[in-house]
């Protein structure tokens, strides 16, 4: 009995000691959103490294990655624009901390954050930890102690085995999914009547959930305060904006209007001006792509032009 229990403990410890490095080695090769993010951020970082201030960097989730066009904005603003948005699972503070050493005076960070970020945070989800570990384990490790162990603890062995092809395998071409400036670009409208179009309509028809109840008290502000202050100290201008959404009539109700008002106040307290008004990001059904927050290509170009016009007066001039 004692020997069996000792063996059990030893077996579990030995397996754990093998599991942690195995996850670290294997995860970057495994199929999944974190793999896509790893590849996408390699491209976005490349864009960042090959440009200089003054630049505009968009930070947010997939609504921004699909919903703005960096090349169109660059043309309108006459300066480099990089779409640094990824997915809602990726915590914004991680992205901002990665930007801190790479942005300089004259650069501008714009935060068109999705509504979910203002709620009770589902911070550091398993996907977020995996993505942090894949994209930038150094920054991730500074924000999350024992990142490697935490990733291993939140990795399902069955999932890892099912998702992991032979390391180094060539999968879908990232160049077809992410533009050189970081936009997600495969959002072409589906032909009417297809399963994809039908699925989209079903998703849009789903009733809008109530907004996070007290966005002003969200832990988000605490997590963003330090990286934003660091950016501002370095001479980087930080602005906020509205992400793109399906134009649901519910947004006109008092509960949502109160939500938008509280967000604007909270940004104001952080000394971060907001660009435009919430309705700037609302689009009708025919402009939506695959969900309530992803627009089609033409809408993302329209949004980029309109947003650039709003942004231009707020940007520091190249001489500043």
């Amino acid at each position: 009995m004692t020997r069996f229990l000792t063996g059990t403990a030893l077996g579990a410890v030995a397996t754990w000691l093998a599991w942690v490095p195995l996850c670290q080695y294997w995860l970057p090769h495994a199929n999944g959103v974190h793999w896509f993010l790893d590849q996408a951020y390699a491209r976005k970082d490349q864009a960042l490294a090959t440009t200089t201030a003054p630049r505009v960097v968009l930070v947010g989730a997939s609504s921004v990655a699909y919903g703005f066009r960096a090349n169109v904005m660059a043309r309108e603003l006459d300066r480099p624009v990089i779409n640094y948005a990824g997915t809602a699972a990726l915590d914004i503070d991680f992205l901002l901390w990665r930007l801190v050493p790479n942005l300089h005076a004259g650069d501008t960070v714009v935060l068109p954050l999705e509504h979910a970020y203002y709620g009770e945070s589902s911070r550091r989800s398993a996907l977020c930890l995996r993505a942090m570990s894949a994209i930038d384990p150094q920054t991730g490790g500074q924000l999350v102690p024992w990142l490697g162990s935490r990733v291993a603890a939140r990795t399902d062995p069955a999932w890892l085995l099912a998702s992991a092809p032979v390391p180094g395998a060539v999968r879908r071409e990232i160049n077809e999914e992410v533009s050189p400036l970081g936009d997600y670009v495969n959002n072409q409208p589906a032909a009417p009547g297809t399963a994809f179009a039908k699925n989209k309509i079903e998703r849009l028809a789903k009733a809008l959930q109530a907004p996070p109840s007290t966005p002003g008290a969200s832990p988000l502000w605490e997590h963003l305060a330090e990286p934003i202050a660091r950016l501002q100290t370095n001479g980087v201008k930080v602005l906020a904006a509205q992400a793109n959404y399906f134009a649901d009539p519910a947004y006109d109700t008092p509960i949502w209007q109160e939500f938008f008002g509280e967000i604007a106040q909270s940004w104001d307290r952080m000394n971060v001006p907001m660009v435009g008004k919430p309705s700037d990001g609302f689009f009708p059904e025919e402009k939506m792509w695959d969900s309530r927050s992803h627009v089609v290509e033409s809408a993302s170009e329209d949004r980029a032009i309109h947003f650039a016009a709003q942004l231009l007066p707020l940007l520091p001039s190249p001489q500043d």
Binding site: F4, T6, L10, G11, W16, A162, R171
Partner: protein, 494 residues
């Protein structure tokens, strides 16, 4: 709530075990286990709890009535009434919609119902039908209502078997304290974790690969490679899912000081289709052999009667798994294969082969060829078993044969290789590794020991070496359980 869910492992099981430890008398433990079993069942759908309770009460009453009227015509009527009521209940829930919708002209004017299939109905209904038949035959006498309730509702075997015969449980129920000895508990926990590992690490790993062809093929191009990979993946998924469930059920019973009948004996090592059915879902095989096939044959059956009997029994066996033409076709395919094997064995050529098989070299080659043919037949028949419709089965069958080409339109070569590596590893494992019955054969974990259970040198002992294996399986299983929502066992659908 399934055995591999967080609720079961984190709340239900610890509470039940704590309750068993705190109860001093075995009577209290039995009552606790009955209550826990009903709670377990109600977690799925509380509105079906009265159905289970009603089924238990009615069958017990019929059994008691038959004991009092044994040998009389009234007793026989009671048997027929009881069996008919059981079959009517299962038919209503399981087969009514099938008869109305899919069998032309039979009940075409009737309407379907929207009721969910009560969990475990195929298992607890037939367990009780067997009880009634054995009572009528005089092999079972008066049974205490609590003992009967425990026999039917005992949660480790309630949902998906093993299908327990009352006669093999009664000696245990009379003596048990409903709490295992230290050795039984260790063996039970080991067996349970083996099953958990098989389910959450191996079977669930294969599910996405299976679904790619069987659930999501519509509008998607598939090559033969895709369907072959999915078919093998499903064969192993079903194996590890059901084998895992059976191990967990036996392990849980051991914790309560009870042994259940063996249900699995390395079925993918079978060398004939008959051998396969002696190893796969053994308690179901026993049920259909003893209560369908042998009564159908009568005392002196001719070859034609045996052939038709096999096909008819496997037709019903297919229907038992589900009300769909795919299951019927799968059952008939197995029935035909069983009949063909029997006819071959009795033919002059079969007898000649049997003579040759006495020579060692020929026997070795012949057995390997038989094993391969059996394995491939079982795997291919899984296409029928898993397909949601005959149309899908037909499409996938044609694709398997290369009708849409061999190359996969959406899997990269690296993904194909990776899947092939995993599936080949599982193939080697199920082909050569000893099963849990063999590993635990000294622990007396089952009521029945398969006649052809091969001895192995890998015998479980509560020592350091097995502790290492157990610790590794435990950790990986825990990681899988905490990081994923539990998926139901495949046999819960039957």
């Amino acid at each position: 709530m399934v055995f591999s869910s967080k609720e079961f492992l984190g709340i239900f099981l610890p509470l039940v075990l704590l309750g068993l430890l705190l109860c001093r008398r075995s009577e209290w433990r039995r009552v606790l286990l009955i209550a826990a079993s009903l709670w377990f069942y109600a977690q799925w759908n509380v509105s079906y709890l009265p159905l289970l309770l009603g089924s238990i009460c009615c069958n017990w009453l019929v059994g008691r009535f038959m004991v009092a009227r044994r040998g009389t015509r009234v007793g026989k009527y009671a048997l027929w009434l009881g069996v008919t009521a059981n079959l009517f209940t299962i038919s209503f829930f399981k087969y009514w919609n099938f008869l109305v919708e899919d069998v032309p002209g039979v009940f075409s004017t009737a309407t379907t119902h929207q009721l969910a299939l009560p969990l475990g109905i195929s298992f607890f209904t037939f367990q009780q039908v067997v009880f009634l038949v054995e009572t009528w035959r005089g092999r079972i006498g008066r049974v205490h209502p609590l003992e009967y309730g425990f026999f039917v509702a005992f949660f480790p075997q309630l949902i998906a078997g093993p299908i327990v015969d009352y006669q093999e449980m009664r000696p245990q129920l009379a003596k048990t304290s409903f709490l295992g000895t230290q050795r039984q508990i260790l063996a039970g926990v080991f067996l349970f974790v083996c099953g958990l590992f098989k389910k959450v690490v191996i079977a669930d790993l294969l599910e996405p690969w299976v679904a790619e062809s069987f659930d999501a093929w519509e509008g998607k191009l598939l090559g033969a490679t895709d369907v072959w990979l999915s078919t093998f993946a499903y064969s192993f998924q079903l194996y590890f899912d059901f084998s895992g469930y059976s191990d967990m059920a036996m392990g849980l019973a051991l914790l309560c000081g009870l042994r259940l009948p063996a249900n699995f004996n390395s079925p993918y090592q079978a060398t004939s289709i008959g051998d396969f059915w002696r190893r796969w879902h053994m308690t179901f095989g026993r049920l259909i052999r003893n209560y369908l096939y042998l009564p159908l044959l009568g005392s002196s059956p001719g070859p034609m009667r045996m052939v038709l009997g096999l096909v008819a029994v496997m037709f019903l066996g297919g229907l038992w798994h589900g009300a769909a033409w795919t299951f019927v076709a799968w059952g008939v395919a197995h029935g035909v294969a069983l009949a063909a094997a029997m006819v071959f064995r009795k033919s002059p050529l079969g007898k000649q082969v049997a003579t040759w098989a006495e020579k060692r070299l020929f026997r070795l080659g012949w057995m390997q060829a038989c094993w391969l043919a059996t394995f491939l037949f079982v795997v291919l028949s899984r296409v029928l078993f898993r397909s949601p419709s005959m149309g899908t089965a037909s499409f996938l069958g044609q694709t398997l044969g290369g009708a849409s080409g061999w190359a996969s339109p959406h899997l990269s070569s690296a993904e194909i290789y990776w899947r092939a590596i995993i599936l080949t590893s599982l193939f080697v494992f199920v082909r050569i590794a000893p099963n849990t019955l063999q590993i635990l054969q000294r622990e007396n974990v089952t009521t029945t020991v398969p006649k052809d259970l091969v001895a192995t040198r890998l015998i479980w002992q509560p020592n350091l070496r097995w502790g290492l294996v157990f610790g590794a399986m435990l950790l990986l299983s825990v990681l899988a359980v905490v990081n994923r929502d539990s998926s139901p066992f495949i046999y819960f659908n039957f």
